[in-house]
């Protein structure tokens, strides 16, 4: 009691100044550790990584270290493997994205309706999201193995394959293996995001449409899709970048093989750094990937600004 009374008596201006100081300094105390952590562990190494791309740093050749200007990039330009990896990155990202999005939208629409056992259903279909990625990769690699997996046998029975063999060893088909795993793993994410957007659509719109006698299809194309569009644009953009960077599945399932048929840029970065220990060249590929992704993001933002008026 006495302390509060003295505090109250001790002049309003001083109290104000200390409150002001506290208000000025306090936010940085809360946000400081996060900023320090990110700066030290991510941003500083990022700058170092960019500088590596102008150096020759191969752990196996410790005496050939030094600045070499744009030599890594010149090598990159002539590297057929890089261009193949770039092409594969586009295929990997596009096919994963299309299936994840289509299936995710379907799931979100289903979860937006009422049915018995919905809560359990939701928990079960979101489960693949919780499965560690290395395990998803191994599981799908095993499913595609004709010795212990059913998929080759089913595909042969349906006439997709001439005989039950492992598509992960076939350069023409190998990419579908990691794509299948990625779709399985990524559908819940799209479903959650789109479900959130669906639930933000005002219910009155649907009631009005029903009174006007709109068909289910009309409601979907005239109300649901236009409302989802901004959310779809953001999600697709973020997800594209994320999938293009996502190396785990491919690295575990095929290691980029056979004959680099599944090598994408991010797995190329990792195998160059991890297997060849050529940090300079790996960083050059990584910088190229970063630049490509930035160009993509800028393009997409420009397109979005033009078509979606939000």
């Amino acid at each position: 009691m006495t302390t509060t009374r003295t505090a109250a008596a001790s002049g309003i201006s001083r109290a104000w100044r200390s409150a002001y100081m506290r208000y000025l300094v306090e936010p940085y105390l809360y946000v400081g550790p996060a900023v320090a952590m990110i700066a030290l562990v991510m941003l500083v190494p990022l700058v170092i990584g960019i500088s590596y791309s102008f150096q020759s740093i191969t752990l196996l050749k410790p005496f050939a270290t030094g600045w070499i200007g744009f030599e890594n990039y010149a090598t990159l330009w002539r590297d057929a493997k890089f261009w193949l990896a770039l092409e594969n990155t586009v295929w990997w990202t596009l096919s994963s994205l299309v299936f994840q999005f289509a299936l995710g939208l379907g799931l979100a629409l289903l979860l937006n309706t009422q049915f018995a056992g919905k809560r359990l259903f939701q928990a079960l279909v979101f489960l693949p999201w919780a499965v560690p990625t290395f395990l998803s990769a191994l599981t799908w690699a095993w499913l595609f193995n004709p010795v212990i997996g059913p998929l080759p046998h089913w595909m042969a029975a349906l006439g997709i394959l001439s005989e039950p063999y492992n598509i992960l060893g076939d350069p023409d088909l190998a990419m579908w293996g990691p794509v299948a795993a990625n779709v399985w793993f990524g559908v819940p994410f799209f479903a959650i995001t789109l479900l959130a957007a669906l639930q933000s659509i005002p219910g009155e719109l649907y009631e009005a449409a029903e009174i006007d006698g709109a068909s289910t299809w009309q409601v979907f194309t005239k109300i649901t899709l236009p409302f989802l569009a901004p959310m779809i644009a953001i999600t697709v953009m973020l997800r594209t970048i994320w999938i293009a960077n996502f190396a785990d599945l491919i690295f575990v399932m095929t290691g980029g093989g056979p004959a680099n048929a599944t090598q994408i840029l991010s797995t190329y970065v990792f195998t160059t750094a991890f297997r060849k220990l050529d940090f300079g060249y790996a960083s050059a590929i990584a910088v190229a990937l970063l630049v490509l992704l930035m160009i993509y993001a800028v393009l997409l933002l420009a397109i979005r600004r033009r078509f979606v008026k939000i």
């Binding site: 996060a34 979101f126 499965v131 990625t133 395990l135 191994l138 095993w142 479900l195 990584a286 970063l290």
Partner: protein, 280 residues
């Protein structure tokens, strides 16, 4: 009118067919993992592709737990994941609170930086991180993994925590501060209990993320006794690639912690992401 209210039987059948499709698609691979893990070794090659083996056994689990190093890998992963989850949640709670309650100089810059870290290829920093960690003599140590994973997860965890703090009315701590609490006391006594679900969700999310990380662990850990579960399992797979039952039993073991956490946090996580997404 009633036609639109009560959908036709065709639509209803279609809907339940779709529900069944999603359920099978999501669960079948996991079912297969469990199925092979309980198939006896001698039956794997004859009945490997049958929907259910004629005999089941827990022998693979026994072998994996008692005769391999997986228990040690499991322990290492548990240390790394729990350490990362705790550190990240503490740091992210602070930052999320600051974003939710204060307007301060540089706030937009910090948010932009955090968004950037979510965009660039993380593999870009794998070489510098390796060099730095090696220079500090911390290769093959779990601490280096915890520090690296914490930094990776802080940005997303911060946004998640911010959305939870945004859901708690400001008036609550302002009332407490009127009554003479400092802001930190108000945070600890009033806000903290209310945000427990949010903290739990963030903990669970980060735990799962750290539990599955593979590539940085591969790079930074090469000694057997410091391997995390993903690194250990991958090494096992490349060494003994025909011990299907044991590999899958190990896989099932790796699945348990993340599934437990997932079941526990699933509702909160969906809630948190949903409310965050709605607010933009």
């Amino acid at each position: 009118m009633s036609a639109t209210r009560r959908p036709s039987p065709v639509l209803t059948i279609g809907k339940y067919a779709a529900l069944a499709f999603y359920l099978i698609f999501a669960l079948f691979p996991l079912y297969w993992l469990v199925k092979i893990s309980i198939t006896p070794d001698q039956l794997v090659f004859t009945e490997g592709t049958a929907l259910w083996p004629s005999e089941t056994t827990l022998g693979n689990f026994r072998t994996v737990i008692f005769q391999t190093d997986f228990l040690a890998y499991f322990g290492n992963s548990l240390i790394v994941s729990l350490g990362t989850a705790t550190a990240t949640t503490l740091i992210a709670a602070g930052a999320g609170y600051a974003f939710s309650r204060f307007n301060f100089g540089g706030k937009r810059l910090i948010i932009a930086l955090m968004l950037v870290t979510q965009m660039f290829p993380l593999l870009m920093i794998i070489a510098p991180i390796y060099k730095i960690v090696a220079a500090m003599g911390l290769l093959n140590s779990l601490t280096s993994l915890i520090v690296v994973y914490t930094a990776f997860n802080v940005p997303f965890a911060t946004f998640l925590m911010q959305s939870f703090f945004d859901g708690i009315p400001k008036d609550l701590e302002e009332a407490a501060m009127m009554d003479g609490c400092t802001r930190f006391q108000a945070l600890r006594k009033v806000i903290f209990p209310l945000t427990l679900p949010g903290l739990g969700a963030t903990l669970g999310f980060v735990f799962t993320a750290a539990w599955s990380e593979l590539l940085f662990a591969l790079m930074l850990i090469s000694k057997n006794d410091a391997m995390t579960f993903p690194v250990g399992l991958l090494t096992f797979v490349s060494k003994f690639s025909v011990d299907w039952g044991q590999m899958m039993a190990a896989g099932v073991l790796a699945l348990i912690p993340s599934c437990l956490f997932f079941i526990f946090i699933q509702r909160y996580l969906v809630q948190g992401l949903t409310s965050g997404a709605v607010k933009g």
